[in-house]
Symmetry: C2
Subunit: 481 residues, 2 copies
């Protein structure tokens, strides 16, 4: 019964050219990444989906700690009065909070919201423990889930609950805090480019798009296979707005009371949605080897023939001993079913070993990304397979980079921007005067939001193509998830 179900499911994936949204949902469910729960927008991460998150976690957590950050755990509930302490922040988040009003059998004297983000909690804590310049910086991170009561929801891309990490730091000087903000953006960019093979554009969010309460929000923007944008990680500089509102005064070296400068930065399971939409194809998920929970799947062919299963097991064990995340599929499913299943799950490399291969002291390695077959001598597995995995990693990055580079179009009028977006999708780059009005006009007339003011600026012209006034910077526009 399950077998039958599974065979069906491999066949049932929708082509991305037919319906990209349905393709995405199919991959999420049929690669066993998620299941739907009884509450809209709250998704179950199944073992394979969670293993992908653990792989990202492990990379980020290591980087955070190397850079001197410490993990902590904050409460999941925020009293309404605490959320209200910073004006811009509460305006941004209150409309999408979920509220606890009853504890045990008693109505609560004050509503508590499930954290949508934890700036207020960190600041409240810091107001208890920060006294002197000696206590700074405090560089904290937490791994948790947060809730935002969104109207439309999709697995990974928009959940009412999602897993993330949120870094929160305070520093004695503005300079140090600004440095931290940019450093953490770089960590996210590294995570995307080096681990996930997802090229990014780094930049500054406009005032309209920045985080509620922040002075600056920096972002990494990725381009998906359908040429839409995915904001993949953000890092915020807060100045001392919150620390004054929460009265986190500290005695500086001259014994004068100062207020620390603050940052926060987050990356969430949303990035898994990005990973799927960057590398996936019509056979399912495609995972970059550096982060794949299973890097090599070993399949015995004609497994009933003498010695085949044993040889396949031997290969798995040799690869594991060489530090490769290898797994053998010794179930009684057919080879065809196994091919489809492990392709669906995006395992970067498939090794096939059958009686004929054994005679020739070889096996077949098939790349998931381009289906290229290589015959490998069994004597050189430990040497060749890591190289093949790195080739897949590089191949995925190059392909995604090509997609990004080929779909960034300069435009010199609103009309041109609109037409380019409609005809090609992708990112449209224009000059910009910096006014909200022009940003709104682009949204209303060309259905694009500003993605970022990239760090890598180009001087396309001198004027804003929307209003004709002098331009202040180049900006990217796009249709975003």
């Amino acid at each position: 019964m399950a077998k039958e179900n599974k065979e069906k499911k491999v066949e049932q994936i929708t082509d991305m050219e037919v319906d990209f949204t349905q393709w995405f949902t199919d991959v999420c469910t049929k690669a066993d990444l998620v299941d739907y729960s009884g509450v809209k927008g709250l998704f179950i991460l199944r073992p394979y989906g969670y293993a992908i998150w653990e792989s990202i976690q492990s990379y980020l957590d290591g980087r955070f700690k190397e850079l001197g950050h410490e993990n902590v755990s904050m409460p999941m509930l925020i009293p309404e009065s605490l959320l209200q302490k910073e004006k811009d922040h509460v305006e941004g988040f209150a409309p999408e909070c979920a509220w606890v009003t009853v504890g045990g059998s008693e109505p609560l004297p004050e509503r508590l919201c499930i954290r949508p983000t934890s700036e207020t909690l960190f600041c409240d804590h810091w107001s208890h423990v920060v006294h002197s310049w000696r206590d700074l910086p405090m560089k904290y991170n937490q791994w948790c889930s947060v809730l935002r009561w969104e109207k439309t929801t999709r697995p990974f891309l928009r959940g009412r609950e999602f897993l993330w990490q949120e870094g929160h730091t305070i520093h004695a000087t503005e300079e140090e805090a600004r440095e931290e903000t940019l450093q953490m953006l770089d960590v996210y960019a590294d995570c995307c480019e080096k681990l996930l093979a997802m090229p990014v554009i780094k930049g500054d969010k406009t005032n309209k798009e920045k985080f509620a309460g922040a002075e600056n929000t920096y972002t990494i923007e990725c381009m998906m296979h359908d040429r839409k944008a995915l904001q993949s990680g953000t890092s915020h500089y807060f100045g001392d707005g919150f620390t004054r509102a929460f009265n986190i005064g500290f005695a500086d070296k001259t014994n004068k009371i100062s207020y620390p400068f603050q940052t926060s930065w987050g990356m969430s399971t949303r990035i898994i949605g990005g990973l799927i939409m960057t590398h996936g194809d019509n056979n399912g998920l495609v995972l970059p080897p550096r982060m794949a929970p299973i890097q090599v799947i070993v399949l015995p062919i004609a497994a009933h023939k003498p010695g085949v299963t044993e040889k396949a097991e031997e290969i798995v064990n040799r690869l594991k001993a060489a530090g490769i995340r290898a797994k053998g599929d010794f179930t009684d499913n057919s080879p065809g079913w196994k091919f489809a299943n492990w392709e669906m799950k995006g395992v970067p490399l498939r090794i096939e070993i059958g009686p004929k291969d054994m005679e020739n002291n070889q096996c077949v390695a098939v790349r998931r990304d381009n289906r290229e077959k290589t015959f490998l001598s069994l004597d050189e597995l430990e040497a060749r397979i890591p190289q093949l995995l790195e080739d897949v990693q590089q191949g995925l990055f190059d392909k995604a980079k090509k997609n990004l580079d080929e779909h960034c179009y300069p435009a010199f009028s609103l009309e041109e921007a609109k037409t380019l977006q409609e005809e090609h999708g992708g990112f449209i780059k224009t000059m910009w005067c910096g006014d909200l009005e022009c940003e709104m006009k682009m949204k209303e007339e060309a259905c694009m939001t500003s993605r970022c003011i990239p760090f890598a600026q180009e001087q396309l012209s001198d004027v804003c193509p929307i209003c004709g006034k002098p331009a202040k910077c180049m900006i990217y526009w796009g249709v975003a998830y």
Copy 2:
């Protein structure tokens, strides 16, 4: 200012003989483990407290995965109707749920409770994905926090929110599920005894004390320094009660519909409370070396003298290179302050190095548990320090085991049990007829709850000392946290 504060805080710890409860709270706050949040019973785990949890997590997560369990993530919210599907379960948990009634600005059509535990969520998910015997077993775990709206709360010991792991598994046969239940109890016992140096008594909970909805609850019980009991980890066998209620039918090998047998098991940050109350002393926390976030603190003495700081740094680096979690304290606090601070934090070994030591090519190692001083030649650090750390580990276990062994008293009447408890505390062991009535009587008259029916049974007599009827088993009684 901070310096002054901290010096005060080291002095302000209450002696455990004077007020054990206050001593515990002092250690929690003054060793920088926790802070109080704005919501009663929701505690902040500060970096040092969270690092202790990470150390326990890392041990358990490794063991779970070795045994074939996979991590997943379930939603934090449970619809009221889902919680109600298993009768005993909802009766046990509904009275202490926190309820979300508003999402965004809208009242919700159905109340959602923040998970107090996730059996219902796992079962709901399994009802979607389990079809055949090929899908079994499913051996899942999740790391998360849960909420239980308790009246009285204390850091670690009783929080309305606490961090834990909850394992949930389903199996094709009762035998396999029962094996899993006991296996996971053994993992918890190993965690306590081998990692945390906390000796345990393993046993079965009585019907009265078992988990809501379980057929059997197995427990490990530890004895604290004040001779009270701490239930430190539990593993539950559910039979097929939930799987039938949630209709998780599967086609067995004969294609007949069967219902799987279920287990769940959990360990929480409560164990950190146990760790504090098992090993701590009047100078603060004492951590077992195998789990201590910092195993060795290196202090330069007369750090302004030439070469001292460099030598201390060299020692730190050598220890780190040898795989020891070492840290140097190069702040400008006084040596006395540093001694007190790192003792408060329970670092198992302190290394002091000053100009005179350097002349003699040695350093001083001071054990946290018994303050024993050893002079170590600088040539043999890598050889001697791991041994010293193991000595501390063993010393802590032996001391705790002695406390446990010396405070288990057999009793042959209710009166004797009561007197023994009042005079000595500890665990009172008696025979028991198995009736709830006698269990209630022990509670009402001797203020003790049943801790467990130990696996290691003794035949103290033939009759229940409470009612005089024939005894079925030996049972431990105690006053519990």
